[in-house]
């Protein structure tokens, strides 16, 4: 139960940051926090109090934790890192071009250009 509360509050914090912050790096951090929350949620689905690692061996008499969520989370973490790295690379380019990562200022500068996209 504690895991669920922690996971849901992490997702909530992430959501709040995404909706309120205007700094692109902060928005990305917010999504990343929500991502960790989701991973924690997935892991806690398979958690079993007093369970062992899901590896078959001789003389095993304890219950095992569910291996499926662990496999899922491993994949999800890798995907999350890849996406985050790509997003950060693009944000660095935005910073180089506009000299700022504030969403409002970037949009205002783009209007000043040829005004086509914001």
């Amino acid at each position: 139960m504690m895991f669920y509360i922690a996971a849901l509050s992490l997702i909530g914090i992430g959501l709040y940051v995404v909706l309120t912050k205007k700094n692109l790096v902060k928005v990305l951090i917010g999504i990343s926090i929500a991502d960790s929350g989701v991973n924690l949620l997935l892991i806690s689905v398979g958690y079993l109090k007093g369970g062992t690692a899901p590896i078959l061996e001789k003389g095993l008499n304890k219950p095992m934790v569910d291996p499926v969520p662990q496999a899922l989370v491993l994949t999800a973490i890798v995907i999350g890192v890849a996406t985050l790295a790509l997003a950060m690379a693009v944000v660095i380019d935005v910073k180089r071009h506009f000299g700022t990562v504030e969403l409002d200022k970037v949009i205002k500068m783009m209007r000043g250009g040829d005004g086509s996209d914001a």
Binding site: L19, L24, L41, L72, T75, A82, T83, A87, V94
Partner: protein, 487 residues
């Protein structure tokens, strides 16, 4: 002589994935051509072999009921054929231009992920494919290294990263409640909030109105071949997963809110398209509208329209994109001075006749079948959207042509042939006096609107990043509310 090989659906994933790194290893154009041909031919051979033994179920690794569940059926057949046609033809066109080896590597992996999304029945596998194809799309959009492209790519990246995190949450919660990730074996009841968290990211992927305002910038700024791939095959991925989910008994009721969103998208898409002056953005908005048709059509008729739309929209993006790259103008007024060369204009017209639903072209069949099977409110909305489509496409046709030497580029020819072939071969399925009269009335009113109503400039406020997040949340909440009331 017949070669007897045993084929599995998973080969559709493996073959393009294995060929992809070879494009990076050998960097000469000749070898690229050979590799691309091999990939397409092998892919077509596998599809043909699988088609003979349809429907096939496969559990990866032989773990019956535990491995990833793959299935090749009618729906997969239509979608995999579309994916390989669009990407293969874009490769033909790309050999005439200077594309880096990275382009072939990425598109080959994209073909693999799209194929997988057409055969997989595993919720988590779908998540991986959504993320992987999006990562490829971000790089393809930003390949021109211009700040505008970077910004379009970043907007899409942010909103879909946010959305797919939500999709993953829903997958985790479904696993918690039901203990399975296989779409066909989910039982019990999915609460409305989980169902909407599962479906709205897929709507974002499939390019329908309130959630997909990333699409116009991304599709119109990308290079010609990339635009065709994105509009022809990439946005179709969300729709097939939605069809798979809503054909299960447990999520069947979710089809009603999806239809509402689809009809709204069909209408708003053409309004935005008609009032736009950038030619590639007209096509991008028309994609938003046509994806509304696809989703409103449901698994059987919608998949047909997805195929037809993929083909003629690629043709339109190729003709218009080549023209834009040649002249350097995006604006319709500037293009009216330059005009299309004659041969390109003919192919543009074939694409327009297809998308406008003129009899003897493929769009007529799928559009009239979809309209025929809708309830009354759906019929009215879709006919209005068809009128808008005719009006906005008449804008493109009004650019006009100039005399030029006659060329027949093979990539245009492939798409045009399929559009006409499907339109003539299967006309019996849609042909009725009612459908004919309806299509002519739609065209007449559409042309009248084009002649009388002047387009106005609509500000692009809906495409701002922070507004997009709000649009997404609003769609999520309204989807949840409708599902909650239905229960």
């Amino acid at each position: 002589m017949s070669i007897d090989i045993h084929v599995y659906p998973s080969l559709l994933t493996l073959v393009p994935m294995l060929f992809a790194p070879l494009f990076l290893l050998f960097r000469t154009k000749v070898i690229h051509k050979i590799l691309a041909t091999l990939t397409v031919l092998l892919d077509l051979l596998i599809i043909y072999k699988l088609m003979l033994a349809m429907p096939i179920d496969e559990y990866t690794g032989g773990w019956i009921l535990r491995g990833i569940h793959l299935r090749f059926d009618n729906l997969s057949l239509i979608y995999t054929l579309l994916f390989v046609t669009v990407i293969g033809t874009s490769w033909i066109s790309s050999f005439k231009k200077n594309y880096p080896p990275l382009f072939y590597f990425l598109t080959s992996i994209l073909l693999s992920t799209l194929n997988t999304s057409a055969i997989t029945l595993d919720l988590f596998n779908i998540y991986v494919m959504l993320e992987l194809s999006s990562i490829i799309a971000y790089i393809l959009i930003a390949m021109k290294e211009n700040w505008k492209h970077l910004w379009a790519s970043l907007k899409y990246l942010m909103i879909s990263y946010f959305a797919f995190t939500m999709y993953l949450t829903a997958v985790g919660l479904i696993y918690m409640h039901t203990g399975t990730l296989d779409i066909t074996r989910i039982s019990g009841e999915i609460s409305p909030i989980i169902a909407s968290m599962l479906i709205v990211p897929l709507l974002l992927k499939s390019g329908v109105f309130p959630v997909s305002m990333w699409l116009p910038a991304a599709h119109s700024l990308a290079p010609t071949e990339v635009s065709a791939i994105l509009s022809g095959s990439f946005v179709k991925m969300g729709s097939i997963v939605i069809f798979r989910l809503t054909s299960t008994p447990i999520l069947k009721h979710a089809y009603i809110p999806i239809t509402f969103i689809a009809l709204l998208s069909a209408l708003i898409g053409v309004i935005l398209a008609y009032n736009e002056s950038n030619v590639k953005r007209i096509l991008a908005f028309s994609t938003i509208s046509q994806m509304g048709f696809v989703l409103a059509g449901g698994p059987i008729y919608g998949s047909l329209h997805a195929f037809n739309h993929g083909i003629f929209k690629s043709l339109l993006f190729f003709t218009v994109g080549d023209q834009v790259e040649e002249t350097g103008h995006y604006d319709i007024k500037a293009l009216k001075h330059a005009k299309f060369p004659m041969y390109r204009y003919i192919f543009l017209l074939i694409g327009i006749l297809g998308i406008a639903g003129v009899p003897l072209f493929s769009g007529f069949i799928s559009k009239s079948i979809i309209i025929h099977h809708m309830p009354l409110y759906g019929k009215i909305a879709l006919i209005l959207a068809s009128i808008g489509t005719v009006a906005s496409m008449a804008k493109l046709a009004s650019i006009g042509y100039r005399k030029s030497i006659l060329k027949i580029p093979s990539h245009y020819l492939i798409f045009a042939t399929i559009t006409v072939f499907v339109g003539i071969k299967y006309i019996n399925y849609a042909l009725s006096s009612w459908a004919l009269i309806e299509s002519f009335i739609v065209i007449a009113i559409g042309l009248a609107i084009f002649l009388m109503l002047h387009p106005k400039h609509i500000p692009r406020i809906l495409e701002k990043l922070d507004i997009m997040v709000i649009e997404y949340m609003l769609t999520l909440i309204s989807m949840w509310a409708i599902l909650y009331i239905q229960r």
